[in-house]
Symmetry: C2
Subunit: 337 residues, 2 copies
């Protein structure tokens, strides 16, 4: 026992996507301040990938997570889990799907056992996994199920200077409006408030809650939901001691001055959260799952099958995910000693 | 006749708001490259406002627009139109509403007569005008009515590097979805295409059309409208020779790389257009009315009654509106010699 926190565990993600190459690139830039991590992946395919892309990354097979920390400075530590077939860049192969899922399960097991300090997931391709029996809308829901304690998993996306949390995520916009719900806004905001305290080390988090309609409804002349659904949620949050304001006119919520005034923006639909985030910074986005019994982050991009294997993918989002995961794990450990 | 274009005409806007002070401030910064302009306003109240805010602006009463150009270097030229009562900062007075409306009408008359090259409007407060019989949702519709030839007025908002055009504007989000219409998207985009050629001097404009749902509907699993309503509009535009692509996933439309690839983004609802614009730059937004028989711009902010008279308002958006108006008027004159 060195007193250092355990390393981060990184999942392989979809092996036909860019996960492997961006992880190799991130390791090459480890001196930019990256925390030690190890990968659950097929070591042979990583070596082939590094050679073909001219990425000089020594791959070190490790037997346990414990070996990763000392290995990390000189090599990329890998828990070798062979794939069924060698992956071809850009082409999903159902034969490998069970290994993709198994890597996530193993990573969660390691972090729950205290052998890893947090899970960082490479992107998966849901359609490619459904054939293997995967039945979740995405990583977030799968991880919540693995956590298994009925915790409400909440997706936060972060770039430097902005954290956003959509109350509804992958549903048609029409349905996001129809299902808008005071209780869901309150529950989401409370989960965010708790996580900002515990994981982000913010003693008195400030939340801003977006309105739904232009100008947050302009006193009802531009829509009823702001007054009928969102305002009561803000009132309930304040009554519960959460520092929240809103409903804020959506186009006023993301100005530079507004962003400086809150720790997280609670958004009502996918694009209300994602449009400003990606407009401001598409290279350093981190997806953070709040409400799990462990810390989990991922890069805020997909498998990028169209550019996989070409080496043009950027590791910056994964690097931000690694740095963020280590920071959150450190804060959470300090908060619950 | 000097060969120089006529000056710009600026309306007073709501005299209880910030219009007067930002116009005085803009004149003080005229050497930043501002085109000559004159104001239709109460010269006495401007002099009082300048004194009270310590803005050393000599006000010169002019008799005709023609006098403005030579006066502009040394003084702020004003077509003196006395208000009914001296305005109090932040307090709407219905007695002045008819003068606010008359200033807009006079400005339009001057630009249509060729005595001004474009109209730049200071913000109005609609509620304050309704009592005086004003019956339009805003400036844009009023100007279209004054233009009187049934032209389709289209609102564009611009900052350096991004132009956005919402197909629907001030209506509840639920209604914006319910009334989404292929023909309206096509008509709006065609007006934008024509204006980019004529007013912006862009020979081959490139338009990107936003989707409605997350991921532009993800092949129908996240909503039907992208395939059923938006895609046919893009197809019709292309068939008509307009360079358009889409439906683009809304959160992908405003990344730095995406923005570099089009001249204007056609958006489906108010906040889809306004959120990214204001997140990126809230200080230099210009509102441009396309489709009128004259050039009209305005700053992209309101009357700011809460800070009027304090001198903290910034003239940068008005300055951008002035510069843009002069540029568009120049391009339009060159296009129709």
């Amino acid at each position: 026992v060195t007193g250092l926190p355990p390393p981060l565990v990184v999942t392989m993600g979809e092996p036909a996507g860019i996960g492997g190459e961006i992880t190799l690139m991130a390791w090459l830039r480890r001196e930019a301040g990256l925390p030690p991590f190890f990968l659950i992946d097929d070591a042979d395919r990583l070596e082939r990938l590094g050679s073909s892309l001219g990425l000089p990354v020594p791959v070190q097979r490790i037997g346990t997570a414990e070996e990763a920390a000392s290995a990390f400075a000189e090599a990329l530590p890998v828990l070798h889990r062979p794939l069924a077939v060698p992956p071809a860049a850009g082409r999903l192969d159902p034969a490998n799907a069970p290994r993709v899922i198994a890597a996530i399960e193993e990573a969660v097991g390691l972090v729950r056992a205290g052998e890893a300090s947090a899970v960082v997931t490479n992107p998966i391709h849901k359609k490619g996994l459904y054939a293997a029996g995967f039945s979740f809308p995405g990583h977030t829901e799968f991880l919540a199920a693995l956590a298994g304690d009925g915790a409400r998993a909440v997706m936060m996306l972060a770039i430097p200077g902005l954290r956003v949390v959509p109350v509804t995520v992958h549903m048609p916009l029409r349905r996001a409006i129809a299902t808008l719900d005071t209780a869901a806004i309150v529950a989401t905001a409370e989960a965010v408030d708790a996580s900002l305290r515990r994981d982000f080390g913010i003693a008195r988090p400030r939340l801003s809650v977006a309105g739904l309609n232009p100008h947050a409804g302009e006193e009802g002349s531009l829509g009823e939901e702001d007054a009928a659904v969102v305002a009561p949620a803000v009132a309930a949050l304040r009554a519960a001691g959460v520092q929240a304001d809103g409903p804020v006119p959506p186009d006023a919520l993301f100005t530079p001055r507004a962003r400086a005034g809150y720790d997280a923006a609670i958004c009502l639909y996918h694009d209300q959260a994602l449009i400003p985030l990606k407009a401001l910074d598409v290279d350093h986005g981190v997806n953070i799952t709040l409400g799990l019994p462990f810390v989990r982050t991922s890069p805020d991009h997909g498998t990028a099958l169209d550019i996989a294997g070409t080496g043009v993918a950027s590791p910056t989002s994964l690097m931000a995910a690694l740095t963020t995961a280590a920071e959150l794990a450190r804060n959470r450990a300090a908060a619950s000693p």
